[in-house]
Symmetry: C2
Subunit: 424 residues, 2 copies
């Protein structure tokens, strides 16, 4: 009975701290919004980061055929190694290898989506109490994952007036001895921006100076508009070690298939075998990607016609231009033209919309009145902006922009004379 | 410069504690073994828990067709909800619902394999510093996952002489106020044992008395030999909350596809909405199963012919009997006849094999001399046993047993007179 005392006498099952601390800012904000569209206008959702929802951007036939071939072969039903089939890893290595940043099969770890790639990369580099540097505005998953395992997130600013380049001084000022990883998202979600080679080199300099490894989220790599180049960050440095995370989701338009990867770039041998081993061990926790998709991967990478990639890109560019050009003419809005990915950020001059408290309020009312839903950028910790996904069919994009214009016209208030003039 | 001092001046990137603490006992043991087969005999691996490796147990054609239909439909390329498509969840609920333990779609969470189901279940129930009760011998993943996130593992014994029933007294003695989950694996890996209804009820009594929720690893459910019944543990209790983990891997013979699930049984409303919400939140970290497999799931569950299941089971039973009957005749070995799953455990009377230090040594030499590899049960924290996987083709099973017999015959030493007699 001495021991019995210390046991539970009543049911009292509570979710763990980790579950409680797994916060999804997009859900937190969207679930708090009253999203009741105007019954007189069909809803247009410019909020969903899934390019497949409208059916206008199907994946290539060859991609589907590769999957069916993998199934028919009956060679890919068993357990794959936890880091993936070597042949599939080699296919990814070949696809992304370049003279400045060569890759072999062993440098590739296949994962369940880019999300798991990011999870493994953060998990291997960071301990409880460490901190990581994360772009702001930025993809919310970094914070969700980090905070849930006791890692602090420090946000470095991206500058809209400089096409969303990183504020390097701000970035550097955040670094301390517990900073164990710098996350660079390029091209960017939510900005659609693409860093120049020169800017990437400056970021590398900061990492090099303070000896911080880089987690490069390059899921949108190669998804850049014609004329814009997008070198991988690893190809620009031989001393800074880089874990580059990517996957099939965006460029091949199959996000549901959960096929991702980590490319290990470590030409200076900083990670050494220890980090590699750590990644292998972590991959054994739940194993990675579906073996059928792994089996199809070599063919997906090698046989998808160039025309598929380029027609996706021209569509995204054209839709971005339609949206940007239209919203440029709307007083009170400041769209920032993207160079890649599938997003466009729009600044709201809140001063001119006194009716609304903030971006959440603004976008909520745009649903109620115009049945257009754009994600308030508070979801990316960046208030007074909203994000538009440019994958919707062109006619929807046009219609949506018209409605946004109507909405803004209705609520826009010109600068009041006094405040501005008196200040000068 | 004050701050600069606290920053790193040299590269020093080490894997995280979590990576270092992700231990895989099977790998640790197998990687330490010298596995050089006898060049005169072809290798027979009875160690691999993957039923697909020898090609004798293909999945059903209807399962492959369901996948191809899901691909052709082009409806399953986008992101599924993080807990899975509702229709697929409903299909799982229908498949496993029974009057004693009814299930709806919302009670099902789809995951990337049963491994992720187990990870989510442990993660939602347990905090750092808690402990969980785990069967011994048992599947090693529980410990791998728990230890890596700071949860202590307490092993309760299974009793070979009682067909691997749990030692309930031992189990109960391990419970303290930090015990947050009792794991029950039924049918068992590595034992192939199946608990009776009565034994399950006794386990439930322990859980109920001490108010400990159960994580039921039921990945081998329904894989029991004819004549043996295997009720789900949740169907036998209405007060103990159960997270039942399962998946397609074993019964449908497609472990590489990474399709698993959690069935939430909570008729007493102990988990309530909090644990459910916790599971949903955790599922958003990396999302779950491949959308194509999810899309195929309803058809896989509903259209796989009964004959497929029963022919798999008869094969497993027949192979188990061949193996058991043969090894029963071998002095020094004590096989335990399984009732399900795909494994058979064999005790080694180490006293009679003075040549060998332990089960690892014993099985290693069996490779060197007989080219037969059985997993030493030290990998399941259960020394002096080895595990045989009974999914290999029949002729290999026969040949392997012959060689095991030869090996044992060569090294067996009868009881020395003195020790035994003098003791009495
Ligand atoms: C920047 C970024 N990284 C990672 C991901 C996740 O990719 P996946 O769906 O492959 O997990 C996304 C998805 O939207 C993303 O925008
Ligand atoms: C008892 C048990 N649980 C869970 C698993 C893992 O299943 P999955 O491959 O679906 O992750 C296995 C695999 O061998 C197992 O034996």
């Amino acid at each position: 009975p001495t021991k019995a005392k210390s046991r539970r006498q009543m049911w009292d099952v509570k979710p763990s701290e980790m579950a409680v601390n797994t916060l999804n800012p997009i859900r937190a904000i969207v679930d708090g919004m009253k999203l009741t569209p105007n019954p007189e206008k069909p809803m247009i959702a410019l909020s969903i980061g899934d390019p497949t929802v409208f059916g206008n951007l199907p994946t290539d036939k060859s991609v589907l055929q590769a999957m069916k071939d993998a199934i028919d072969s009956q060679k890919f039903n068993g357990y794959a190694p936890s880091v993936g089939y070597l042949k599939s890893r080699q296919a990814v290595a070949n696809f992304y290898s370049c003279p400045e940043a060569p890759l072999e099969g062993e440098d590739v770890i296949l994962t369940s989506g880019c999300s798991q790639a990011i999870e493994l990369a953060i998990s291997v580099l960071c301990n409880r109490g460490d901190n990581i540097l994360v772009p702001c505005p930025g993809f919310s998953l970094y914070k969700t994952l980090a905070v849930s395992i006791g890692i602090e997130v420090k946000l470095y600013n991206l500058l809209p007036e400089k096409s969303w380049e990183a504020d390097l001084q701000h970035m550097e000022s955040l670094i301390d001895e517990r900073t164990s990883c710098l996350i660079v998202t390029n091209p960017s979600n939510p900005c659609g921006s693409v860093f120049t080679k020169e800017h990437l080199e400056k970021i590398l300099k900061v990492a090099s100076k303070h000896c911080i490894p880089i987690l490069a989220d390059e899921i949108y790599t190669n998804m850049v508009f014609p004329g814009c180049s997008c070198p991988s960050i690893a190809s620009l440095s031989s001393d800074v070690p880089v874990l580059s995370c990517g996957g099939l989701a965006k460029r091949w338009l199959v996000p549901g298939w959960r096929m991702g990867w980590i490319l290990i770039h470590d030409r200076n041998n900083v990670f050494g075998s220890e980090i590699r081993q750590g990644l292998v061990k972590l991959s054994q926790r739940i194993l990675g990607a579906c073996s059928i998709v792994q089996g199809a991967l070599e063919s997906i990478l090698n046989d998808t016609p160039q025309s598929f990639y380029s027609s996706t890109i021209s569509f995204l560019k054209s839709n971005s231009e339609i949206c940007f050009n239209k919203l440029c003419t709307v007083p009170g809005l400041n769209p920032v033209m993207p160079s890649g990915a599938m997003y466009l950020m729009v600044g709201i001059e809140m001063d001119h919309f006194p009716e609304f408290k903030n971006d959440v309020d603004f976008t909520e009312r745009m649903v109620t009145e115009q049945s257009v839903f754009c994600l308030p950028a508070s979801a990316f910790e960046y208030p007074n902006f909203f994000r538009i996904v440019v994958t919707v069919p062109e006619e929807m994009m046009v219609e949506a922009c018209d409605r946004i214009q109507q909405f803004c016209k209705h609520y826009y208030r010109p600068p009041s004379r006094d405040s501005n003039d008196l200040d000068q």
